[in-house]
């Protein structure tokens, strides 16, 4: 294990990326902000995959590469592996991390939005919160996409925050991060 830095450094950077692009440049254009954040992630993933695949035999197929992402790659980044990998054998893979570090410190409070949206606060807050957290997920998505496409698997990666931090009050520590990616070997390339 090479050199290390405090986790807060990375956390702060991530936070700043998002706030810079979402509140700064593209406050009104979330989709543009998202693309930028994803792009940053992409570059990181691209370079990291280059590093972490040294000294290992070439992957014979896509599945191997994706397993690599789930195991070694992920533990390099988060000191833990992906918890669950699913696939429909038609090119869609679902990676699931039940304790995603980058969401571990986030709590979104619906009530905070109540003021802004008196009508039907719950749902309003829901999707607002989802959006906010989603912004933070473009970066990891970018990383995965960057890594895979550098391994010769062009793909689309999207994160699905099925249960938001704010949503599951019963479960304290659980933070789900399920990026779902679609490799273009399937004709129907739709992200789910």
């Amino acid at each position: 294990m090479g050199r290390e830095v405090s986790e807060s450094c990375v956390d702060s950077l991530l936070t700043e990326i998002v706030s810079t692009y979402c509140n700064g440049f593209y406050a009104n254009k979330p989709e543009l902000a998202a693309r930028r954040i994803e792009a940053i992630g992409y570059q990181v993933g691209h370079q990291l995959s280059e590093r972490y695949t040294m000294e290992r035999p070439r992957f014979s197929d896509h599945l191997e590469a994706i397993k690599f992402i789930c195991k070694d790659f992920w533990s390099e980044l988060f000191k833990k592996q992906i918890d669950n990998l699913k696939t429909n054998h038609r090119g869609t893979f679902v990676l699931q991390d039940n304790r995603f570090r980058w969401l571990a410190r986030m709590s979104v409070d619906p009530s905070s939005e109540n003021s802004s949206s008196p009508q039907d606060p719950s749902t309003m807050a829901e999707n607002k919160a989802a959006q906010a957290v989603g912004m933070h997920l473009y970066f990891p998505c970018g990383i995965i996409r960057g890594a895979l496409s550098n391994l010769g698997i062009p793909c689309a990666v999207s994160a699905d925050i099925s249960n938001l931090p704010a949503c599951d009050r019963n479960n304290i520590t659980k933070r789900n991060f399920d990026p779902c990616l679609v490799a273009p070997l399937t004709a129907h390339c739709e992200l789910s």
Binding site: E4, E7, S8, E16, Q47
Partner: protein, 190 residues
């Protein structure tokens, strides 16, 4: 209250959650590059980096205080030392050295030989004038501001520009003390 003894930088660094530095380095690199693409002007990028640093600093200081148990520094000298020895160590895992004090002890230099931010980095010719590590200055400025020290942080030396080390000059502009609810006369406390 009985002040808990301040902990050494290494001790804290050992205790805090750590991550692979490559991730940090590359992420930062990617940010800088993206900013360059978006803002085009190098100056803009410098500003932006500093701003981001500031935002980080104003939050990070509290973590620093909470985990390092440093009590209030008697003067700016001590502050600088703490930053160099504890602060840098605790977050970046490296220590800086403090030198070049001016006469009235209001400005000094933080020297950083080893800097995880710049591993692998080489500035292209198009990016001359870019302060690659400008985020650091922002962080320091922000952090000190939270402990009521207005400072000005500037780069003196930059390895990416061929210097032999990174040198940050920190100049203390003024020390604002808390405002009092019922009277607001300047009250310098040190």
């Amino acid at each position: 209250m009985a002040p808990v003894a301040p902990r050494s930088g290494d001790a804290i660094f050992a205790s805090v959650e750590r991550v692979n530095a490559e991730l940090f380095t590359l992420t930062y690199g990617a940010i800088v590059r993206q900013l360059l693409t978006d803002l085009e002007e190098v100056e803009e990028v410098n500003k932006q980096l500093d701003q981001m640093g500031y935002n980080i600093g104003i939050r990070l200081i509290d973590e620093f205080l909470a985990k390092s148990n440093v009590s209030r520094c008697v003067d700016f000298k001590e502050t600088a030392e703490v930053i160099a020895k504890v602060g840098f160590k605790m977050f970046l895992g490296v220590t800086a050295s403090v030198t070049n004090w001016d006469a009235d002890g209001m400005s000094c230099s933080l020297i950083l030989e080893d800097n995880p931010l710049v591993d692998f980095v080489e500035l292209p010719d198009t990016c001359q004038g870019l302060y690659y590590c400008n985020i650091l200055s922002g962080v320091i400025r922000g952090a000190l501001e939270m402990v009521s020290m207005k400072t000005e942080v500037t780069w003196v030396r930059d390895m990416l520009r061929g210097d032999d080390a990174f040198e940050l000059q920190v100049k203390l502009l003024k020390q604002v003390s808390e405002e009092y609810p019922y009277k607001d006369d300047e009250y310098s406390e040190v």
